[in-house]
Amino acid sequence: MITLLFWNVGAASRPIQLSDLATRYDVDVVLLAEVVDEPSDLLLALNKTVVAYSYSPGIGNRTIHIFAKFSETYAAPIIETDRLTVRRLNPPGTEEILLAVVHFPSKYAWSDDSQSVECTRLADDIRRIEETTGHQKTVLVGDFNMNPFESGVVSAAGMHAVMDRKVAQRGTRIVQKREYPFFYNPMWSLFGDGTPGPAGTFYHPHAEHKVYFWNMFDQVLVRPALLDRFRLDDLAIIDHTGEQSLLTNTGIPNPQLGSDHLPILFRLSLSVRK
């Protein structure tokens, strides 16, 4: 079992919160966006009591930071842009997976159409890498700055991420004679107040007619080839570090103590490499 945590820390210094989160949830791989702390400072915080984590820097990408309880050798970058890093994750003793971490432009900077186009390009990148590596054991995680129901996330040429595991398990779907592989998007199951935890990962009460208030901008998408290693119970939106709440007393993300985004935590039961 490998435990991963993604958090857009909101351009705030958060070494203590990260250290608490990593300890409380026994995180193996920490994935961060909008980091202002020096990696060395975060490493010191993560290794406060026990030296467990290594820093796995990108080569061209300097905006997404990865810390893991194994050497950076086992999280080598394969392809990057300034908003994407794809790693070949093969910690000793376990099967290899592809871990793609993304931080898309915000809705302040990009239109919905531009975000959709970027999803198409990301989907192309991932399909190409999967062809090169010869497998589709891929997890895509990050701050998409899009909701699970938006065109770029749902459409076949985009992420093709669906809410139903059974649909995803079909593997692919053909549209206009082109075959597109599915992702399973389990974040749908955490949307709204019918499940434990917050109703989304990002709260935005804007003074306009159409407002969702809660958004699920931070998502993890799982390829069908990894679905038997992933259980819905092993996914959560985190609202507490173990030492302090990440929410205000009205129950929304508290940027003063945490970030305007909440972390997401998920586990994969990776099989032992033979």
Binding site: I59, G60, I79, R83, A109, S111
Partner: protein
């Protein structure tokens, strides 16, 4: 039957944007002892349907498990110009392009000018130097000189 086609159809007088990109890409390997190469490849999907020719300019490191970094993307239609560029945030900032603004080259001269600014940017240098540094480490570990 009378041949109505012009006789000089086989004569190409202008370089296509992708040819210019490929020419520049071909020069990088020699400058880095082939540790970092540049590749121009067609993108699998259209970015803008009205601009069906889509190419991405990648930095490529064969010694780093074929690591790739996408520097920028271009698109254009059968008229060749204008060429639309999508550059990454860091390069856009260096070039003084505001978020949401489009970057177009309206002709060959402007294409070359934009290309020069992208290839000469700090971000491009930083990525190339990072690849060189990592690749050199690997080569040293393997006991083979990269020089």
């Amino acid at each position: 039957m009378t041949d109505l086609w012009p006789t000089d159809l086989g004569t190409v007088t202008t370089k296509s944007p992708v040819t210019i990109l490929k020419e520049q890409a071909s020069l990088l390997g020699a400058k880095t002892k082939n540790i970092v190469k540049a590749k121009v490849q067609k993108t699998p999907s259209y970015i803008v349907p009205a601009m069906p020719f889509n190419y991405e300019f990648m930095l490529h490191a064969p010694a780093l498990d074929n690591y790739s970094y996408r520097l920028f993307v271009v698109a254009y239609d059968v008229d060749l110009y204008p060429v639309r560029f999508w550059v990454n945030d860091a390069i856009a900032e260096e070039m003084g392009i505001k978020r949401g603004d489009d970057l177009f080259a309206t002709g060959e001269e402007q294409l070359i000018e934009i290309l020069a600014r992208i290839l000469g940017s700090q971000k491009t240098r930083q990525v190339i130097q990072a690849i060189l540094s990592q690749s050199t480490d690997l080569v040293e570990i393997d006991g083979v000189s990269s020089a």
